[in-house]
């Protein structure tokens, strides 16, 4: 689906634990369902009716999108824009640009280990949902980490879908105590021992992604990282969201070449 710009209204704003919110929107009637074919990891740019002090739109991964044109995002208050969105009431209007970027593809032969942290959950949550909908919940496994149990949201659907989950919290209040990368490391070791084909799909805070990348490279498994860079346009024209890469050119663009990048490609020290 090529991107377009369209209006939407908030249908529902649900406060979750840990300061998270899910916002569900309906597209303007005339727009159809521009996001229904979205790939997990693809994103939208969102702008509210908040004037031009906040000049540029904000990027959000799509948590889910329905055939009726409705779609939802998961947010946490970071600055003014996310604060304004968290305060949006039903009926509140936003302008959406999307779908943008390239997402994850569905599991093929290797088991996909989905590693999520913080607001990096949506791409992997949707990836799990899609796998389950395709009758292959066992093709993915969710590794989801946070500071404490409140930080882990929207976990019930994962159980409903029959997706295997491993949780990790820094304070041990849910699942393993420690970082999610500890649990991932153990899983990768086990796969190596058994000769099982696995790949890693990760989205979350940059320090987590750096650790996942190092681990994936060390284990020589295919590792895909869904990155965040500050964006002005979201569709490849401002060149603001450069990601340093190896290869024939020094930079690619998070918004148009990504946000999903192969860990081997990313030029991080």
């Amino acid at each position: 689906m090529p991107p377009s710009q369209f209006g939407a209204q908030l249908v529902d704003n649900q406060a979750l634990s840990g300061g998270y919110f899910t916002l569900r929107f309906a597209c303007d009637a005339a727009c159809g369902a521009p996001l229904s074919g979205i790939e997990p990891g693809q994103f939208i740019m969102v702008r509210g009716e908040w004037g031009r002090e906040m000049l540029n739109p904000r990027a959000f991964s799509v948590l889910d999108a329905q055939a009726d044109g409705s779609f939802s995002i998961l947010i946490k208050i970071y600055g003014r824009g996310t604060a304004a969105l968290s305060a949006l009431r039903p009926g509140g209007a936003v302008t959406i640009t999307g779908p943008l970027g390239r997402g994850f593809s569905a599991p093929a032969d290797a088991t996909q280990l989905l590693v999520a942290g913080g607001v990096g959950l949506p791409p992997l949550h949707l990836q799990a949902k899609r796998a389950a909908a395709a009758g292959r919940p066992e093709a993915v496994e969710m590794f989801y980490g946070g500071r404490n149990a409140d930080d882990l949201v929207l976990t019930e659907p994962l159980d409903d879908w029959g997706v295997k989950t491993t949780y990790a919290t820094e304070d041990g209040s849910r699942g393993h105590q420690g970082f999610v990368t500890g649990a991932l490391e153990a899983r990768l070791e086990a796969a190596k021992a058994s000769g099982e084909a696995v790949e890693v799909l990760a989205c979350g805070p940059t320090p987590m992604l750096r650790a996942v990348r190092t681990m994936g490279l060390a284990h020589d498994v295919r590792t895909l990282l869904c990155l965040e860079e500050e964006m002005a346009c979201g569709f490849g024209v401002c060149l603001g969201c450069a990601v340093p890469v190896r290869g024939p050119k020094p930079y690619k663009y998070c918004c148009s070449d990504g946000p999903v990048f192969d860990a081997r490609e990313v030029r991080w020290s």
Partner: protein, 333 residues
Amino acid sequence: MSAPVRTNPISPDAVDLTTTFAGLSLPHPMMTASGCFAYGQQFAHFMDVSQLAGLSTKGISPAPRMGNPLPRICETASGMINSIGLENVGAEAFLAEKLPYLADLDVSVWVNFFGEDADAYVRCAEMLSAGADRGIDVLEMNISCPNIKKGGIEFGTVPEVAHRLTKRCVEATSLPIVVKLTPNAADVPAMAQAAYEAGAVGVSLINTITAMGIDVRTRKPRVATMYGGLSGPAVKPVALRMVHQIHTKHPDIPICGMGGILSGEDALEFLMAGASCLQVGTANFSEPPAALRVRDELRTLMAELGISNIPEIVGCIGRHDPEPTYAPEASWT
């Protein structure tokens, strides 16, 4: 308070939006600005690009450039700072890969260009001349390249240096040259005059204002190069002032105005200040077809104000009526 200039509203259909810039006839004043429209293709998803009066490409240098390290952008109050580093595909690849798409659009194609030194400017103008019969209409010479090393700053700030550089480029190409001015110069009208006298057909302004943001958590500048360029509505009042200064001092110099244009009213302000065509930059990021919305709003607003054509109002700004003189001793009536 001054009274509005009373003219009867007219029908939007009766508004003639055509304008002339340095002999170039345009169907309306709205173009898109360099670096804010890439090479155009991506916008086709969002709008009919051929509806634009024209567009200015990302700045082209003789060889490809890889751009600056991250972070490259940050938002500020009603504006943004960028430090992209003039990343571009280079003149050769531009002509081969990007120009054919633009040539087919039937809009005025301005190729923004620069060089790492004076010779590179001339070389770039020469290389791009090959596009003269392949769709390029204007070369827009960017003399404000914050990221160019030695001497580069003087191209944009010292009239004599700008004059010399412009002259060399004008002589190197058959294409008309528009010089894009930087607001960081102390005397912008003098820069415009220098460029015009050197053979440029007109000037465009403003480029971004050198600026800085700081991330207090990392104690680092918010763009990696420390300083970047400020654009967006925040700079509009400065841009308007500079357009008006040039138009007042040098009414013959054609001006393409830009800096924070977001609405038809913004556009009309720039026209009244003295610009005869306009570019929309940063606004494209949040709203890809912004320039076309601005065009439509401009038409509606002109109709409402009874303005039937553009030439009528270019540079029409008058002074306020003087107040009755004050005599301290005057007794009350």
